[in-house]
């Protein structure tokens, strides 16, 4: 009796192990992207990059729990910001911008608004749309990044609950921003009908960074909804 039970247990254990191995192998094959990326990193051997910190997991955790709600409640009307911005970027920064410390880093502006898409540059990997804000006057007021490559780190640097001091080094902090931008591409931008954007109404929130020697307002969106007719 005892020995039968025992062999039953072993059988159960073996099938459980088999199921686990199967599950692992299958899950490995569903995420070839991740495997490739890791392979590249290993080939490149970037000093100090290790697997202890996984930025993608970290961002997955804070995206809907913290980042989206934060932008829901902490964005200014873009008109308010641009009115001052057009006169003085410095003044707009002091009044509406955020940066973690006082000197040597640019201000970031969390904004929301709506308007019409008047142009789309989808040839570049770093695609953008130009938006004529409401009330519309027929000319583009701002640029919104629509990926898949998203430039700068406007979203990371707009989150007041994220501090460079909380990360081991610059590599972790850079990888965090890359992971946030990647998440935005996946969650916010991958569903866009990229060939049919011009002429559509759009509503957004997000952030832009005060770029060096430029007055370009280049917004990285956290919410971007294109109205379908």
């Amino acid at each position: 009796m005892v020995s039968v039970l025992h062999s039953d247990n072993r059988l159960f254990f073996r099938s459980a192990l088999l199921a686990l191995v199967l599950a692992l192998t299958t899950s490995c094959t569903i995420v070839p992207d991740k495997k490739d990326e890791k392979g590249n990193e290993e080939k490149l051997d970037i000093y100090f990059v290790n697997d202890e910190f996984n930025p993608d997991t970290y961002v997955d955790k804070i995206w809907s729990e913290k980042i989206v709600p934060y932008f829901d409640t902490n964005c200014l009307e873009i008109d308010t910001v641009l009115e001052v911005w057009k006169k003085s970027q410095d003044e707009a920064g002091k009044k509406f911008g955020y940066r973690e410390k006082a000197e040597g880093s640019p201000y970031n502006f969390r904004v929301k608004g709506s308007g019409k898409i008047v142009a789309a540059n989808t040839k570049s990997r770093a695609s953008t749309i130009d938006v004529d804000l409401n009330p519309q006057d027929g000319t583009a007021d701002v640029t919104i990044q629509i990926g898949p490559v998203i430039k700068d780190s406007a979203i990371r640097d707009s989150l007041e609950f994220i501090s460079f001091t909380d990360f081991t080094n610059q590599l972790e902090f850079a990888r965090l921003s890359n992971a946030i931008n990647k998440k935005i591409d996946k969650e916010v931008l991958s569903g866009l009908d990229r060939e049919n954007l011009v002429g559509k109404d759009v509503q957004f929130n997000g952030s832009f960074t005060n770029l060096q020697g430029s007055d370009l307002v280049r917004i990285t969106p956290v919410i971007l909804s294109v109205k379908q007719e």
Partner: protein, 308 residues
Amino acid sequence: MRKLTLLAVALCVCLYSSMAFAAKLIVVITPSHDNPFFKSEAVGASEKAQELGYEALTLVHDDDVNKQSELFDTAIARGAAAIILDNAGADATVAAVERAKAAGIPTFLIDREINKNGVAISQIVSNNYQGAKLGGEEFVMLMGEMGNYVELVGKESDTNAGIRSQGYHDVIDQYSDLKMVARQSANWSQTEGYEKMESIIQAHPDIKGVICGNDTMAMGAMAALKAAGKGDVIVVGFDGSNDVRDSILAGDIKATVLQPAYRVAQMAVEQADKYIKEGSTGLPEKQLMDCVLINSDNAAKLETFAIK
């Protein structure tokens, strides 16, 4: 009796003044001044220290962790009020900074960070990732988005070597017609940059560009390329030294990325002064300073790691 009292008083005054004297010393420790970047840091920090009424002692660790450890012992023995440090290794330096902390001496890091937070009071570093992306984008543009290139990487013990390489590749690797044919560390050194480049040219005579983790390696690479009759190869550096400025103006090296080394060193002393007087800098420990792209458009305005 009176004599004894006088003597005692004199002794006290003597002791007191020597203590006060010691309390006003700021020790500035950097890598070798052979690289003008580090010299600029040492000058920036000691000038600001003297301006604020401190005595400044500048020392070099030559990227030797043991030597750096001895210099920390010197600073502790002399009762320094603060240490300004551009360190000799992101992991190996943690212990030295902890030792100073235990002795009641605050350390303010510049340029290079350490892999532990809460030990130093400030870590003011260039936004190397942002800077490397600027340099990478310029390099891609100069290369016309295609061709064979070489990367010279910095010293392995320094997170700046890793982050710059990461920034370069996050940009360059998006262009499939740009092909990296060699990638080697030249340890931030001009001599090594020259030697490594010399042998790379032998193996890969068809190089179109060289992207370097810093300016001294770029200077070495450029010299080797010119010696091999390949002066038209596109070379890009990182730091914004006067040497590279002159090379850009002469049409040799094409671009670099300015790190505000002089200002960062001064900021570290200002923060040390505030910390000594008020017990807090009022700022987060880790602080990033944005870098600026330098090419033939603005090179003439560059002087000693600052745009005039």
